[in-house]
Symmetry: C3
């Protein structure tokens, strides 16, 4: 198992010394932003984590190896290659055995982080139950992963175009803790609040670390959603962003956009309809999650 | 792990000596009945289990500890505290790390019983798939727990307001045995029969114990539903109780009752519309489950 | 655990020597065909596997024992007994503890194969999400088994009457690899193609074996669907078979066929409406799967 993992020197040293490490996904790099902005953002997130006292480990798949931490060359390759495969759990063994380049989703980053011994993972938003999943059964593998893999996911809620209520129902059925970090509400990605509540509220990194410690010591398999609201100055108005997403959904339906094309279409429309404010908000919330994730990793490592 | 558990002397001794022990949940105490009836009933159920040759272990969460068996003081505290949290799998680590008082649901009682080495658990009815879950995805975590945690749950079926057919479909998909105890039918909580069948019928505690032994020896993870029909003299007429529940559902909709308020509303209405007979039936079926559960625990311990 | 398993000499020797072994299910024998055609087909499939360099292990339940490989007497008993129970995961412990005769479904064959140390299993089609499952929640336990039990299932897709799109969504959520064997499409049982894609394509037994090896070495629990299209000369026209199945579904609805009676009704109708060509196609695809399964087992054993 371990023989499939390659660590950068920085990450390996931190893990050996029991220092705080924070995992990062790579789909945002390969599929979420154009080059070279994607490389720049990846480096900035890593730097925020270092500035807050933890070591970042961006995860990707190359040459049949799981990269735990990327060198500058790895990052450049990932950010510029044409055929990077977005790799979810079902694809992971194939991407390794075929030596394709793979970018990790939330689910796959959790799997690789657990293998590497990293307990805290920072991302923008988790996947979840898609709108209309009552009939399409389109439900992200991220939710199943959260029910079985022992990694805490620091995020600003679920990705904006999902059905938040159904996502929370699914997580409840699966027994996944949904923590409101400094809030009673479950945040809605671009806005700090939503009509939904988190399961419970924790206000400090230490409280989160204590909860995680008890969970895993008891043998309660699975991760936790640490829902960290977007900072107020970057937050979009809840009603405004809801209206924009519904408008985008309407356009997708009118134009017959279907299946795998829906999500990129919606995200493009949301960016357009917010005059680019959605992209700014996205960057702001990731940086905020990195700060909180580093603090939680520090508290957890000190336990 | 074990360091989180506190046993009463009675339970600890029984477990050390391999004597039969029956786990009991505590949500019925904190959330199911008023004080002091809840304490009285809890003690009566425990006594029925003792009278039938097993040791009762009521489970609750206090002071960051999992109580396996409650002292009189513990029970009083649980029964009278204002802020007892109904604790499902997702809340368990939090309730322990924050030292809140927690009452255990079916799911959480199963988890704690397994940790304590108790294989048999008596309750009234399991949670399941809610009516309308095709669109709401409101599905109890109890069903997932039954698919993964090695505890047999003696019950009178699923809680009365659930969708029995969908609950059985979910359990089938998850591979959970649904045993008709002395019946081919799947009982409907307040009535001994329903339009649905159990997977198979077992007629004696020994047969149940043998099935459980084979299941767990083979490594087939998960529990079993031992569906024990309410005694005939306490059973409500199937068509009558169905009509009452549907009436209650209609009233809930008309009055705009939603989300977490639906279940207590429905149970209150059912009590009202049955002139309190539903409460009597509930108590009768729990006592009956306690008798059968003790007998199964004895057979299992003797194996 | 192992004490519940009985091996034929041929299978035991092969397993001890690390030779390729292929598991086969038995529901097709007891519930899929009349006697004596069922015995004849079972022996032919076994012979195809031997001719392609692997040892067949047909699995069934008898006398409280899991039979890994059937003698001629076992096969005759299974093929002619009146009360053979179709045994899914939920029934497995009961069938063993009650000493009924049990035929194994895809789910149960996977469980028993894994217990016996067999990694490759050949069948016709997997169970999946039934048409209409958005409201009925009728979803085969095979899909959950694929998400947790480490056996590769060589098949020609999902059973023909299922909803292919929803079945693939469920498998995606659960992280199960769906491999197109020599095809980019996901085959539709009686026809080699469907409107749906496989997750990825593998063209040789060695590529499949490599992917499986990586998957299980990493600790990624669960099986894989190796979707092997029916040979062109036996393939039914996709549009034709779709129309026939929809016709059969309409007749089932008109005649009020419900629940457990639907699947046999539909299969009978499909046979009738194709003038028996569906049965021929079914046999052809199983034989083809046996050839490919034997080759994959050989490559996996040689790894
Ligand atoms: Mn999807
Ligand atoms: Mn619920
Ligand atoms: Mn079914």
């Amino acid at each position: 198992m371990k023989h499939l993992l390659d660590y950068t020197a920085e990450v390996q040293q931190a893990l050996e010394q029991g220092l705080p490490v924070v995992a990062l996904e790579s789909t945002i790099i390969s599929h979420g932003m154009p080059y070279p902005e994607n490389v720049q953002m990846a480096k900035e997130v890593e730097q925020v984590i270092r500035d807050n006292g933890a070591v970042p480990a961006t995860i990707a798949l190359m040459d049949g190896r799981i990269k735990i931490g990327l060198t500058d060359e790895d990052l450049e390759l990932l950010a510029t290659s044409k055929n990077v495969r977005k790799t979810s759990r079902r694809d992971l063994a194939y991407v390794l055995s075929s030596k394709e380049i793979g970018a990790t989703t939330v689910a796959t980053t959790m799997i690789c982080a657990e293998l590497a011994g990293i307990a805290v993972f920072v991302t923008g938003g988790i996947g979840g139950v898609h709108r209309g999943a009552e009939t399409t059964m389109d439900i992200s593998a991220d939710l199943e992963e959260l029910s079985q893999t022992n990694v805490a996911v620091i995020c600003a809620g679920a990705k904006s175009i999902l059905d938040i209520g159904l996502t929370l129902e699914y997580l409840e059925t699966k027994g996944v803790p949904v923590v409101g970090y400094g809030t009673d509400a479950f945040p809605a990605f671009y806005s700090a609040t939503s009509p939904f509540a988190s399961n419970f509220r924790l206000d400090t990194p230490q409280e989160v670390a204590d909860m995680l410690r008890v969970k895993w010591e008891m043998g309660l398999q699975g991760g936790a959603v640490i829902a960290n609201p977007i900072p107020e100055e970057s937050s979009l108005e809840e009603s405004e962003i809801t209206a924009i997403i519904e408008d985008a959904l309407r356009q997708a339906e009118e134009q017959g956009v279907k299946g795998k094309d829906v999500t990129p279409f919606l995200l493009g429309k949301v960016k357009e309809l917010t005059d680019g404010k959605s992209l700014e908000a996205n960057i702001a919330l990731v940086m905020n999650n990195a700060r909180v994730g580093a603090a939680i990793a520090k508290a957890y490592a000190a336990n």
